[in-house]
Point group: C2
Chain length 301, copies 2
């Protein structure tokens, strides 16, 4: 089934104990689209600057990511993010954010994408997310991702767009920030009372929680010793989840739980290298193989 | 099968957002024994002072905890611990520790207990743990719990006793402290290279990891909104695990994984009230019912 991903395509500069990656491809929608494209074709909408090399978009097209919706803004510069991780990866510090063309962009959805049934609004301004949703009357399942910047800076707009979607994806700190509640189960349940029937809380190395109709589903993350760069792992999780579900054509909680499983597995690849390097190198066979290995890790039978 | 639990029986003073419990029954061996006794009779060895009311020991006996090994030290005072939790339960501060009779006690194991096949050495001095193990030549499965105090203060003694046991139980911070390694999988694997073939890392609200022969098993914790006092949850986890395994008579990893599942469930009861209050009130039926509910929470099928 058709899947539309909207969000940022960016250049990241990342420092970890494994080295520095300068001006490498990143962005919430990029990670999300690459993860989802393992399961299904993806329509990608994002603004980029004239500094975006054509090869990045060509790479996407080879992975059945349609880039018709990636608009090159004349005279514009692509979104930049710079950050570093502590040696133990438990802390992340943002060193620079230049929204550039992502600050206020044309959210017109190409005519060909307007029939999208599955929608993932990767991290971005709630106003833009709303504008996108209003152009997609036929959506069957829409998910929204967000971050602290919008929770504190555009709270009312975020609360508004939350009422338009089926699901919200956010991390544990963001869930606490949004609700003022430290208990994650309470926080997640409160969020479902704010609009979305499904809430997925990402806990990084501790896994994820999905809540639907007050009922929680919990999945640990895959234990690994190989962490090179965690950037984009949360977006890969979301992209893997929605990509799998879009492929099934379902909107059930059972399908979403299996999606969380796939999202977890794909995020575990993402962190093994800088940028999209690892994600570009894997196939669905690799995903299935690691899924089996992960299932063995969480089975007590 | 016979199960011997050795460690502290204590009085705790605990402050949480739900109130203050003063001089209530606590101690690593107490929590562990109550949890294990849901599955199998327990032989308990611990020193207490003359200030220990007989009713506490009578309560234990009614729960098939044999207290022949609980020695009342003449003129002695029982171990005291005082601490408080932050409102979100993410931080614990120890306000007072008075080891009293637990500082240096007679570790002679009663003759009747020396044939113990299953042994859980709850938190205590490594020297005492070693002295106990030396009196138990017929043990089939011995687990050791420890804490930061011994890891930093009695490191050599701890490393020695770790070579005498089958398994080590410790929390994530302790695993990092013991190995100097922040990655938990790496830390746990290093610990198995130090002696015990099994390492169980407790991550509190994030669940637990069991490593055997380098292979990890991961289980999330049960999500709950009802947290009154987390004291003793880790000891209940260990007690539930070893109690279940002792009942089966097995020593296999498969049995231990099921034990981790039961330990998780029993710990989830422990935190619902102060002291041993909740644990005293539940039966194995309650445990089985919550186990089913927990399995539903972690099943994606």
């Amino acid at each position: 089934m058709s899947l539309l991903v909207v969000g940022s395509v960016a250049f990241d500069t990342v420092k970890t104990s494994h080295g520095v990656a300068e001006e490498v491809l990143g962005g919430s929608a990029t990670y999300c689209a690459y993860a989802a494209s393992l399961f299904t074709p993806v329509w990608l909408v994002s603004p980029v600057g004239e500094d975006m090399p054509a090869r990045h978009l060509e790479d996407m097209q080879r992975r059945r990511i349609d880039t018709t919706g990636v608009r090159i803004v004349k005279g514009g510069k692509t979104f930049r993010w710079a950050g570093r991780y502590s040696d133990d990866f438990l802390e992340r510090t943002t060193e620079q954010v230049d929204l550039n063309v992502f600050e206020d962009y044309d959210t017109t959805i190409p005519e060909a994408y307007r029939g999208a049934e599955y929608v993932f609004l990767a991290n971005g301004a709630p106003e833009a997310q709303r504008a996108v949703l209003e152009q997609l009357p036929g959506r069957k399942l829409a998910f929204l991702d967000t971050m602290d910047h919008w929770i504190t800076g555009s709270r009312e707009e975020l609360l508004g767009v939350m009422k338009m979607v089926d699901g919200l994806v956010l991390n544990d700190e963001e869930a606490r920030l949004l609700t003022g509640e430290s208990n994650l189960l309470t926080a997640a349940r409160r969020i479902t009372a704010m609009g979305p029937r499904i809430v997925v809380v990402k806990k990084g190395e501790h896994g994820a929680i999905l809540i639907e109709d007050g009922r929680p589903f919990v999945l640990p993350a895959r234990l690994t010793e190989t962490v090179v760069d965690p950037t984009g792992a949360g977006d890969c999780f979301g992209g893997g989840m929605i990509g799998y579900v879009a492929q099934t054509g379902e909107t059930s909680v059972a399908a979403l739980k299996r999606g969380v499983l796939y999202g977890t597995v794909i995020a575990s690849f993402c962190i093994e290298d800088f940028s999209l390097n690892r994600l570009k190198a894997i196939s669905l066979d690799d995903v299935e193989q690691r899924r089996e290995e992960f299932l063995a890790m969480i089975s007590w039978g």
